[in-house]
Subunit: 386 residues, 2 copies
C-alpha cells in the first residue's frame, strides 16, 4: 500500500442554511478544498452522507454531486455508516489512493438536516439505531445516550457538573472557530439550567441539528511532495470497527468497544500509542459521548473521563486538547459531514493554520467518528511531515 | 495492486418474502456464500443497499448486518449508488483486497422492497432520479425509460416487438433459474397485450419489485489457489463511471455514456474487447435498457440492439448470451442486490455449474449494473483461471 497525504481541505459556514440545498453546500465546500489543494482535476470521489433519502428525498448522491461539481464521469461513491459516514468515506478514499487505483481523490461529507422538522429529524436519526428492537419502540438518541450517562454516573461516580464541563469547553473552543454553528461561550450553570431532554441530559449536553459539508483532497505522499504548497499531513493510521447496535447485546454501556478496536488498529498501523497524540477531534454528539470516547482512546483511565473534562486536561492548553474545532457540540453536527470536518480541523492544526485556537507543537492528531452509539467507529491518525 | 478472485457465491430465492426481514434475507444469503467459499472468517464486509432508510426505516446497515451475521467487530461498509449499489459494493470490495488492506472480503447486496406499498416503492425508487428537477415534478422510472424507448424508436426504427423480445428471452432464461422471482415463460403477444404502464412500455417490459440478497467472497488469487475448491474466477477488469442524472443535461437519451466509459475502463484493464466476452449479465430494468446497454458495451452496433434481441443473438445458444440468469426482468430486481447477483451468475457460469442454462465454453463473463437511467454504472469482467 502507498503512503497517503491530505493536500487540500475545505469547509464552509455550518448552521441552518435555509437558502441552500444539499448540492449547493457540497459544491461550495468541495471547491474550497480543490482550491486549497491547488489541483485542477480529481480521479475519484467519495461522499459520506447518512440519509439523503430521508432528509431530502435524494439517493444516488455520488453521481448527482459529481455532476454538479462538474467532475462526472469520474467514479464517485457514496458511503453510509450513520453519523460515521464522513469518517468512513475518508477511510475508503484512503484505501483507494493507497491501493494505486486512483491518484487524486476528493472525500466529502455532507448533510442537509433542516429541510424536515425537528420531530422528523429525530426519526431520521433514530434509523441509526436498531429499527426492529429499538427505534420502533420509541427510543431516540438522546434517550440512548442518557442511559449511557446514567450507567457512567452509576459505575464511576461521574457528576452532572463534569458532563457540563465538556459542553463548556467545546463552546470555548467553538467561539474561536468562525465556521462553527454556535459560537457563544456558555457556563456550567447555563448547561445545568437548560431544558431537560432525557434525564440526565439537557439541551446544552446535545449537539445540534445542522446543515453543512466538509471536504479534503488525498493523494500519494510522493505526489504531495511535488505539488503541495502546504505542510504535508500524512495518514499514518486508519482503523474501522463495528459493534452491536442494540444495547441489549452489550455487556457494558459505558465501554465503547468499537472505538477501542478502531483505535487499536490505527495505533498499530501508526506504530504509536495514545501518549504520542498531540490533539484529537472526537465524536461528542452528547457530552457523555466525549467522556466515554477519551477513555476508549486511552487518553485517560476508565472512569476518569468526567474528571478530565473538569480538570482542563482536554482544553486548549491542556495535556491533550480535544475538539479544538468546537466539536459536534458547538461547531454543529451535519451527521455525514462530521467525520470529514474532523480531518479538516486536524490538518489545519498540523499545518499551524488554526489561528487563535492553534495547539502549540501539534505534529500528530487523531480523529474518532462514530455511528449511532458506537455501532461503527472510524479512527485516523495524521502526522505532519518534516 | 494484487490480483483478486471470487471464491464463494451465495444467493437465495427471490420474490415477495413477506415472512423475512432485511437482516434475515442478508444473513441467510451470506451464509450460503461463506459455505460455498469454505472459509470460516472474513476480514471486511461491503454491503450494497439503495435505501434501507426509506424502504425499512433502517440506516447504519453495515454494522447491523455485521452484527447479525456474527462477524462484528470487522470493518463493514455500506455503499449506495441507487440500483448500482451492489455492483459498486463489489468494486469497493475488489479495491480493498487489491490494495492489501484485507485478505478475505464478503460483498453482499440486499434490498427489502415489499414492506412498503407499490406507490411508496415507486416514490423510493424515484429518489435515484434528480429530486429537484425530475422526481419532485412527478416523473417515475417507467416514465423516464419510456422516454428513452421513444427516442430509440425515433432514432433507429426499433419496434415494439423488438422490445418484447428482450422480455421473452429473459423469461425463457429465468424459467431455468430456480431462484428467480418469475419463472413463467411469456410470449411476444403476452408482452404486447399486458397493461400499459408508460407508453410504449407495458408491465411485461418492466422488472418487478423484489425482496432478495446475493453475496460473494473475494480474496487474493494467490490465496484462492491454495484454499478454493472451485475453479477460480479472477476479476480481470473493473470500471466505474458517473454521468449526469437529469435528462435535461444529456445530449442523447439513447446513448448510455456511463456504460461506455465504465466498460471502456474495464476492457482496458482486462486487455480485451467486447468480442472476447462469452456472456454478460446486464441491467435490464426495462426492456429498452438491455437494448441500449448491449449497444453501449459494444456487443452490437449503435441502433442494432432491438434487432439483436429478436435475432436470438443474445439468447442462450446465441453469439453472446445476455442475462442467462433471467435478468432483472424475470429473476427480480431487489435494487441493492442486483449487481452482486450478476457476479453470482457469471461465476456460476464460469465454473460450469449453471445447469440447464449453462453457456458452452464460458470462460470470460461481464457484468454491467447501473443506477437510475445510467447516472452511475459499474462494469466488471471475470475470467476463469486455467
Amino acid at each position: 500500500m502507498r503512503d497517503v497525504a491530505v493536500i487540500g481541505i475545505g469547509m464552509t459556514k455550518w448552521g441552518e442554511l435555509w437558502e441552500k440545498s444539499l448540492r449547493d453546500i457540497f459544491v461550495e465546500t468541495a471547491l474550497v478544498a480543490l482550491d486549497d489543494a491547488g489541483v485542477d482535476h480529481i480521479d475519484a470521489m467519495y461522499v459520506g452522507c447518512m440519509s439523503g433519502g430521508l432528509f431530502v428525498g435524494q439517493e444516488h448522491l455520488s453521481s448527482l454531486l459529481a455532476d454538479y461539481l462538474g467532475v462526472a464521469p469520474i467514479p464517485a461513491v457514496r458511503v453510509e455508516s450513520a453519523c460515521a459516514s464522513g469518517g468512513l468515506a475518508f477511510r475508503q478514499g484512503f484505501i483507494d489512493v493507497a491501493s494505486g487505483m486512483s491518484e487524486i481523490v476528493l472525500v466529502a461529507g455532507v448533510e442537509k438536516m433542516t429541510d424536515v422538522g425537528v420531530d422528523e429529524a429525530t426519526y431520521v436519526l433514530s434509523t441509526a439505531a436498531d429499527q426492529e428492537y429499538e427505534s420502533y419502540h420509541g427510543i431516540t438518541f438522546p434517550g440512548l445516550y442518557a442511559m449511557i450517562a446514567r450507567a457512567h454516573i452509576h459505575a464511576y461516580g461521574t457528576t452532572r457538573e463534569q458532563l457540563a464541563h465538556v459542553a463548556v469547553k467545546n463552546h470555548q473552543h467553538g467561539a474561536m472557530n468562525p465556521l462553527a454553528q454556535y459560537r457563544q461561550k456558555i457556563t456550567v450553570e447555563d448547561v445545568l439550567n437548560s431544558t431537560l431532554v432525557a434525564d440526565p441530559l439537557r439541551v446544552l449536553d446535545c449537539s445540534p441539528i445542522t446543515d453543512g459539508a466538509a471536504a479534503v483532497i488525498l493523494c500519494p505522499v510522493n505526489l504531495a511532495k511535488k505539488i503541495s504548497k502546504h505542510p504535508i499531513a500524512r495518514v499514518i493510521g486508519s482503523g474501522h470497527a463495528t459493534d452491536t447496535i442494540a444495547f441489549h447485546s452489550r455487556s457494558d454501556l459505558t465501554s465503547l468497544e468499537g472505538t477501542m478496536r478502531a483505535a487499536g488498529a490505527a495505533y498499530k498501523m501508526a506504530g504509536i500509542g495514545p501518549g504520542q497524540i498531540h490533539l484529537a477531534e472526537v465524536h461528542d454528539c452528547f457530552t457523555i459521548a466525549e467522556i466515554c470516547v477519551i477513555e476508549a482512546l486511552g487518553f485517560v483511565e476508565r472512569g476518569h473521563g468526567g474528571k478530565a473534562a473538569k480538570s482542563g486536561m482536554t482544553a486548549l492548553g491542556g495535556k491533550i486538547p480535544v475538539n479544538t474545532s468546537g466539536g459536534l457540540k458547538s461547531k454543529g453536527h451535519p451527521v455525514g459531514a462530521t467525520g470529514v470536518a474532523q480531518v479538516y480541523e486536524i490538518v489545519k492544526q498540523l499545518r499551524g493554520d488554526a489561528g487563535e485556537r492553534q495547539v502549540t507543537n501539534a505534529r500528530v492528531g487523531l480523529t474518532q467518528n462514530m455511528g449511532g452509539t458506537g455501532g461503527s467507529t472510524v479512527v485516523h491518525i495524521l502526522e505532519v511531515q518534516p
